[in-house]
């Protein structure tokens, strides 16, 4: 690290954008009440529609994009951002995995669902399309996932990014943090916990509150989805004869709720006994 270097160098240009989402990840940034001035001081935030009006849309160093691509408009915006940014970061579950709006991808045809919800309408707006994560369309350099993102993970990542280093991605499942927090494992209390296949980073907040993990951070690298499903649906644990099994469809529903496209693929590959095709 060279302190002189930092003084003479211009602050990196960062743009924060949102596609289709609940805006929870951007909100989480706004929620960094104690750090917000540092955020604005460590980088030149050239665009952040949710927090400021004087936005400029030129070349930037780091683009942070929330939300999934759910309309042609989203897609155009994303492609434009990609073109003018050196590093593109997918922020939050929607951007990384498609988000809840991608939960039904495999289930039904998108047009059919649009009709169910809105009836027969001819749209004058950019065409709605099936929700997909950013990586389905453009190169994504890094992912910071979560529904919503963890504020500390984001700040750690941003701290490294503005100094020119890539964030250190998390590569372990929620169970690790759950054990850090010395929780009793909910799988032995007959809860359908997705901790073993879900990317950590939330400090196992749900399990700390006796709530099973819903997988809101998406799949961990090398998630043994087949093993998890097999365990939840079929496996008897000789040490715990009372442990109950779940219906495959319920397991699948839960896994896909936030795991979106990624989880859908993993589940398709897993051949779980008792899975109805």
């Amino acid at each position: 690290m060279n302190p002189e270097d930092r003084k003479t160098k211009q602050l990196p240009k960062v743009g924060i954008y949102g596609l289709t989402s609940c805006a929870g990840d951007q909100l989480t940034i706004v929620n960094c009440e104690d750090q917000i001035l540092d955020i604005f001081g460590s980088a030149e935030i050239s665009s952040f529609l949710m927090a400021k009006s004087d936005n400029t849309e030129g070349e930037i160093d780091v683009a942070i994009v929330e939300g999934s691509v759910s309309s042609k408009g989203d897609l155009e915006m994303l492609e434009d951002i990609r073109k003018r940014s050196k590093v593109l970061i997918a922020l939050g579950n929607c951007a990384c995995n498609g988000g809840p709006q991608a939960a039904c991808v495999a289930a039904e045809d998108h047009k059919e669902r649009m009709k169910q919800v809105y009836g027969d309408v001819k749209w004058s707006l950019p065409d709605p399309i099936d929700a997909k994560p950013l990586s389905a369309y453009v190169k994504v350099d890094m992912q910071i996932t979560g529904c919503p993102i963890d504020k500390w993970e984001f700040l750690r990542a941003l701290g490294r990014l503005v100094k020119g280093d890539g964030p250190i991605p998390i590569s372990y499942p929620v169970c690790v943090e759950c054990k850090y927090n010395e929780n009793e494992c909910l799988l032995f209390k007959n809860e359908m916990c997705l901790g073993p296949i879900t990317l950590a980073g939330c400090n196992s907040v749900c399990i700390n509150h006796n709530i099973p993990c819903f997988g809101c951070r998406g799949a961990v690298i090398e998630a043994n989805v087949a093993g998890e499903a097999e365990m939840l649906v079929n496996m008897k644990h000789p040490q715990f004869p009372d442990r109950k099994n779940f219906d495959y469809q319920d397991v699948k529903n839960r896994a896909m709720m936030y795991g979106g496209n990624t989880m859908a693929e993993l589940l398709d590959k897993a051949k779980v006994k008792g899975a109805k095709k």
Binding site: V30, A51, K52, Q101, Q116, P128, C147, F214, N253
Partner: protein, 428 residues
């Protein structure tokens, strides 16, 4: 013919745009558009368990996450015939107060004040209005800390579950919250004075109808099974469609509501207009001090109403805490049945929110969610049109028109992402 366009409405949640078609000095059309892709939440949970539904529906909107959760819980618990214990009830009230504090302070200090004081954003205000910015951030953080305490995290916390809470906070933590609430009351009073003494433009004023929940026992509040309108009519929340009957317009993924064929408003201003007389203590005083007939016709007063509610919520926190610390943590109530129907209504910061469900054999069979912004849509467009027509006829500059329209739209605090998820009843 030319168009005046606000392409990306800044400092709101999600993506909105305003288009004004102008022909000479005449406004041909005004459109308030939602550009965000549709998320089809109501089809996502069909066939899934109520627990899954509860987890995912708050993801409709990050700012109103707990309102969604609360409304969903009320709907689902009716379906499953669950009566919740007292402590659970007060915890839920507390979490809603936390959300109101967070959302209102964010909106009042960080989104609306820069407009009214003429700054592009709150950070830019720091040089001259550092106090306001710091107070806003402090209040917002406090709101977040309540949400975190009750729901496990500031946004999309999973702690409130069907039949109770995964874990109740300790009394120590509750007392700390109550104490802090008391110290923040002067902030809220300060901002009420700033907003109450401000001059607001009058040229788009027009009376409208207001709707909100009607809490029992003549109390002010945010939760009820009854809806009250400013014309004096009352409805059960189960009959919400009579008020909201929605329609879809081609230029927006959000759906819109009309009451008796004309637009109406929900939100802080609606609540303060309909129920303001019930406000007690300092919030009551503030209401009396600034009460004014123009509140019924000028949406920009919404910010003042929010500030009054901010004060109200701060005053409620110690009240709820007093009740909570006396009660023992109850176990989670199990469902009495696996099939049933029910609608839950709560007042989200932006207005009445309905979650209407049908559960069959433990799986979601019908989901209908009506968000506040969807109900406000027609009214927002109405006021935008009034303002545009006046300003264009006066020959004001485009930038001027653009700015004023943005101010009106933002005053409503439209949670555009949430309206985009808005979907009609799915009948199979």
């Amino acid at each position: 013919m030319k168009e005046i366009k606000v392409e990306h409405l800044a400092r709101v949640e999600g993506h909105g745009a305003i288009t004004v078609e102008v022909d000479g000095r005449k406004v041909k059309d005004v459109k308030f558009e939602v550009l965000e892709g549709p998320r089809l939440f109501e089809t996502i949970t069909l066939g899934k368990t109520p627990a899954e539904n509860l987890s995912v529906v708050p993801r409709i909107c990050a700012i109103c996450t707990l309102s969604h959760r609360y409304a969903s819980l009320r709907g689902l618990e009716k379906c499953l015939d669950i009566k919740i214990p007292e402590k659970t009830h007060w915890m839920r009230e507390l979490m809603l107060a936390g959300e109101a504090i967070e959302s209102h302070s964010l909106h009042v200090y960080l989104l609306a004040l820069p407009d009214l004081l003429g700054y592009p954003n709150a950070v830019a205000m720091v040089t001259k209005y550092a106090d306001s910015v710091v107070q806003g951030l402090t209040l917002k953080k406090f709101g977040n800390s309540i949400m975190e305490l009750c729901s496990a995290r500031a946004t999309h916390g999973e702690n409130p579950i069907i039949g109770g809470f995964g874990k109740f906070p300790t009394n120590e933590k509750l007392y700390a919250i109550a104490d802090q609430a008391k110290t923040l009351i002067p902030y809220a009073e300060g901002v009420i004075d700033i907003l109450g003494n401000m001059q607001y433009p009058t040229f788009f004023e027009k009376e409208t109808v207001f709707a909100c929940c009607n809490p029992p026992d003549n109390q002010y509040g945010l939760v009820s099974d009854e809806i009250i309108l400013s014309d004096g009519k009352k409805f059960s929340c189960e009959d919400y469609t009579k008020i909201t009957n929605e329609r879809v317009v081609p230029h927006s993924f959000a759906k819109r509501s009309l009451y008796k064929n004309s637009p109406f408003s929900v939100g802080s201003l609606a609540r303060v207009n309909n129920l303001g007389d019930r406000l007690q203590e300092r919030a009551g005083d503030a209401y009396e001090k600034y009460k004014n007939a123009r509140w019924k016709k000028n949406p920009v007063y919404n910010n003042l109403a929010q500030a009054i509610e901010l004060l109200y919520a701060l005053e409620q926190v110690p009240v709820y805490v007093e009740k909570l610390v006396e009660l023992k943590d109850p176990p989670i109530v199990k469902p009495k049945r696996q099939s049933g129907k029910g609608t839950g209504a709560v007042e989200a910061p932006r207005g009445t929110l309905y979650h209407s469900y049908e559960v069959k054999d433990g799986r979601m069979a019908k989901v209908d969610i009506i968000t506040p912004t969807a109900q406000n849509y027609e009214d927002i467009e109405k006021y935008l049109r009034l303002a545009a027509e006046y300003m264009v006829s006066e020959g004001r500059k485009d930038d001027d028109v653009r700015f004023q329209l943005e101010v009106i739209a933002r005053a409503y605090d439209p949670c555009i992402s949430c309206s985009a998820h808005l979907v009609k009843l799915v009948r199979k």
